[in-house]
Amino acid sequence: MHKSLTLRSGNFSRRIDLGTLARLLLALTFTLLVMLGALSLGKVNLSPITVLQLLWQGGDGSLRFIVEQLRLPRLLLAALVGAALSLSGLILQSIIRNPLASPDLLGITSGASAGAVLYLSFFSLLLGPQFLPLAAMLGAGLAAVAIYLLAWKQGTSPLRLVLIGVGISALLMAVTTFTLVFSPLTTTLSAYVWLTGSVYGANWSEPRALAGCLLVIMPLLVLLARQVRVQQLDNGLAEGIGVRVQWLRAGLLLVSVALAGAAVAWGGAIAFVGLIAPHMAKRLVRPGFAGQAVMATLVGANLVMLADLIGRTLFLPLDLPAGIFVAVLGTPYFLYLLINQPH
């Protein structure tokens, strides 16, 4: 029997898997070490002790500027983007019941990309770059609504969502490419960096805005978390135990789209995180949504933080977009999944 801890007090009760809890604590420790490492490394290498001293006690002005104003906001943005994409993918995979489901495959990322590229080409000169995240979120939202409505036929089925998602995604990629071909070179370049996904040059306003978005979305997920598991049952069984499957699925889809949309809005179209991070998380902890969700959040955050760390340190003086290295790390794993898929 797996060791578990049961908490009961009045009307409150929970069962916690101790193995999962231990692994989560380990993953959290690893995450903190990665963060400390990422704050230490760069054009100027500092010792971790110096970084901690700078963060706790302040100190030398220019070093403090590097850590607090250049590296920390960028690191936090990378962590939040990775966490949100990974969580979004985990939810989608549970709704669709297909290990290949991810925000990339389902048109959400391509919707955001189309929104962002259209904005960069037609509105950014007029309105400035600050509304770019909004345009990307709008694109993601519209794509998701279109997919959901087109997939509706007396309720939605996971398979219809995937098929229509793939179709819409292809269409939106065509829109993106078409717009890029007819844009001036400078727009194409900035669009290209955005499409690869980058946290380059992040200042504090960006992680703050993204964290704000996530704070709005997360309570809904916390409320629905208990039901993620039951909606994975067949419709008949789930409805039989009293689950309103269609409402639940719509609610979870909304959470997933909002998470991916927000992440992509501030981090660009970073591919693969939403696909592979949830899979890694599922292999690291036992089944059970709450544990998997926390693990997926940590894995996603680490993946993008490490990718960005590689991008900005390994090829100095170049500073390459994090999206490239997520893809470099992700593609072999993706192929491995495809080849080893049981069904």
Binding site: M1, R8, S13, R15, V230, Q232, L233, L237, K282, P287
Partner: protein, 263 residues
Amino acid sequence: MSSMSTRQLTLGYQRQVIIDALDLQLPAGKISVLIGSNGCGKSTLLKSLARLLKPQQGSVIINGADIQQRSTSAVARELAILPQMPSAPEGVTVRHLVALGRYPYQSWMQQWSKQDEAMVELALQQTGVQSLADRPVDALSGGQRQRVWIAMTLAQDTDIVLLDEPTTYLDLAHQIEVLDLLRELNRQQGKTIIMVLHDLNLACRYADHMVAVHQRTAFAQGKPSEILTEALVKQVFDLNCRIIADPFFGTPLCIPFGREVQQ
């Protein structure tokens, strides 16, 4: 003990009527079996008994109340349904799957009460799958898996259990094992069991009450020994046969004729 009945129940998809104005009485504390040819609507009927399909007209009634009027979780505490060939979430263990049966008793605050724990243990024990509790469901054999699904419906702690062809794809020994288990639950705990079965002879042996579904209604209902006749089999299944008394159990035994036997 809970009884179920339908009043002028009409079921269908879009324009197509599958069950037409059916009045049915399913006795409390008994095993009722629905029989009928493929596509006759018996599975559709079972779904509507479990409120998974909204009637076009009429109603399904448990203990005097229309199930469509009640909250879905209240109904889930009175009846459980096991659909045909369900699939389990990826990687889920037996114990966790059975625990999902406790869903209608739980809330955001209350997710693992003492009662939940006790009922899950009892369900594992009654179905004899305790030793498999920590195994993933996908790794089990067909017969074991079916017992696990039955354990989940037991954890739901309902008076009524509906099952759609619980013996499909099981070999004969495991079919008998599942049916014996269901009869034991019926006799020992007074659960009302309503199921769809294809095998007429097993249906006759295990059913207290039998309903033959044909031409959008109940062609006949009653004790198997009273209703299962050669004429019924000819009408409902379009099959020539001879019905004799089972030499061992005494229940009706249907010997189907193939083409080579002339009446």
